[in-house]
Assembly symmetry: none
Homo-oligomer: 193 residues x 4
DNA sequence: TCATAAGCGAGACGGTACGTCGTGTCTTACG
DNA sequence: CGTAAGACACGACGTACCGTCTCGCTTATGA
């Protein structure tokens, strides 16, 4: 496979892709810029011209990889929407979970990085989920007096917690069960609070 | 098992305490072994004799600090127990949250570390919370047909998610609100699933 | 053989010169690589990239310093040549004697180092002295049947012995006396052995 | 072989003997006190109670080993005395040469050590040789107007120089040749200076 | 017969230097 | 001009050694 476009955007993608590869192979803490550079047959200057630090590079690789993910799923029912959106999240955690959890520690120390991640990937996922709740309320599926705002984060929080804090698998069946036993009962109950 | 380190145990505590101090002052990534060593007026050999690497040292400091935390709170009501236990967690996150979230990334790559953390701190917190639910069910506060097993993780997961993924504060008021609007309704609802 | 270290050659000289400075200031055993590095405003990697160990660095500094020393002295007489050459040696011992005597112990354990020193500095000094004897014999100053081969080492051996084994000073006057009373009588005596 | 006398002088000899063993095995620079201690199944305190530093220990080992060496050889002729005494030196260099040459570097930095070595081993050897010249002059073997003072060091200096500076062997035949071609001609020549 | 002390083995300790490795900056030469 | 190659300053890591220290154990006496 030749590389007809070495400069510009194509090179950038190669670099980020190499970064992601290394990231998945050795993990965040054992990734070195030299390792990325040598895998991409690049020069350190080429990397540092684009991203001022190692963590910027890693973030860029993450952002680049999560930029074009499936969003807006309208299946017609809240349950369908939730299961679809949470299934997407599950799939993304399979691919990027280890990177995400490594980045998490950085977020507290690097506000700029935090904004990037939170305004990017996380906001996107929140949007998808809150939109599903909003549509359900518009459709009358959810009582109008139920406060749907805090509901979107329940499933993501538990998925993340189970997977990374507890180290237990959390699959599509678990998603379905959680939606049916926790999220929907809270969304549909007659009187809130 | 004899104790050749009889006087050494005290030194160990000093070292871990110094580690924790430095950890809180400069954060996980900026902590240096030299910094710990100089604060404890110790020698690097003294540290490396006990913990083979910097991350082992940090883990030990974390484990040591979370070993003797308040547990078993019996306030007489599920609501009181939950709020007390979650308040403890909030307080622990204030003190060790940054370390915990940094450690999280390591868990996936270091199974031994994962066991240590999960069988230690996390299991302890789960115990406290599941015991609260069990007592409530024994008392008849919760209907006997409700499956309380998955309930304990809801609040910790959301606390963790809010604080580290979303970067939003989560205080005692939020705990109370979450318990009242999410946990208790799920625990007390007449018919489960 | 290309020279990827083109600018590096100058750096190399700076490093060796700094090494020699430190060597003369604090002595062989108290020299530290960090000391050299900090004096040269260099990095340890810069030193270790070139010389794999501290002793290699010191040897290189010594070899570099003794590479371009005055040689070929032709004063017209054997006595003059000898006094000039031995005076050079005296001067070199003043500058590098401590390093040389420290190196001496290493020579027995490090054959490569031994070759370097012996084929370098020592061979150079032997050349100068044996050439002086050869010229004297060519001029007829020394009887043709005298074996001049073993004569060159007499004065250096005694100078070295006096200075380092006995710890007594050995100056230009002593050189003159030694040449007049020992070397020249042996060289000029009518019948050898 | 049992160790009936563990304390006192016997232990001291064991320690010095272990030191000498290690010294001959790994050389001065690679000798460690821990190595000596572990070979002698001793404790560091036991060593440091007797000798305040590593170099003191090594010097003591050397001094202990060279304490009882053959001295005063009176063969009846200067030639015989010289060859006998120089043969002793050759033998001692075979056994302790590497240690001596390593110590040489220390002498310049450690005046106390220098006195010990110079007033001990070296003075002893000088005594033996100058005594041989004195006896020869008393016997009339050497003309009374010859200054024998500087003659004693010629052979030791050359032996040392050849062996350590040049790295060439110097055996009994070389001693004989040197005595016959250099020392005796200088001692016996009719008019000095 | 016992206790009190002195020497000992074992090895932890503070300190210092070593040699390695990673980051981010910079220079050189090539295309 | 952007790039590959890689030298460079900085600084942390983990190791090794020195000389000091503390701990029990053993032995060798003195009561």
């Amino acid at each position: 496979m030749s590389t007809p476009l070495r400069g510009g955007q194509a090179r950038e993608d190669e670099l980020l892709s190499a970064t992601l590869d290394v990231l998945r192979e050795v993990g965040y803490s054992r990734l070195t810029v030299d390792g990325v550079v040598s895998r991409a047959r690049a020069s350190k200057a080429t990397v540092y011209r684009r991203w001022p630090s190692k963590s910027d590079l890693i973030v860029a690789a993450f952002v680049n990889a999560t930029r074009d993910l499936p969003s807006e799923r309208d299946t017609g029912s809240l349950r369908g929407d939730l299961i679809a959106a949470l299934g997407d999240i599950l799939h993304e955690l399979d691919r990027f979970g280890d990177v995400m959890v490594d980045l998490l520690g950085e977020l507290g120390r690097n506000p700029e990085l935090a904004s990037t991640i939170r305004d990017g990937y996380i906001a996107m996922r929140r949007e998808t989920l809150t939109a599903a709740f909003a549509r359900a309320q518009d459709r009358g599926e959810i009582p109008p007096d139920v406060d749907v705002k805090p509901l979107w984060e329940l499933a993501p929080a538990v998925i993340f917690f189970r997977r990374f804090n507890l180290g237990e698998p959390f699959g599509v069946d678990d998603v379905r069960e959680f939606v049916d036993n926790v999220v929907l009962p809270l969304a549909l109950r007659p009187s809130a609070g």
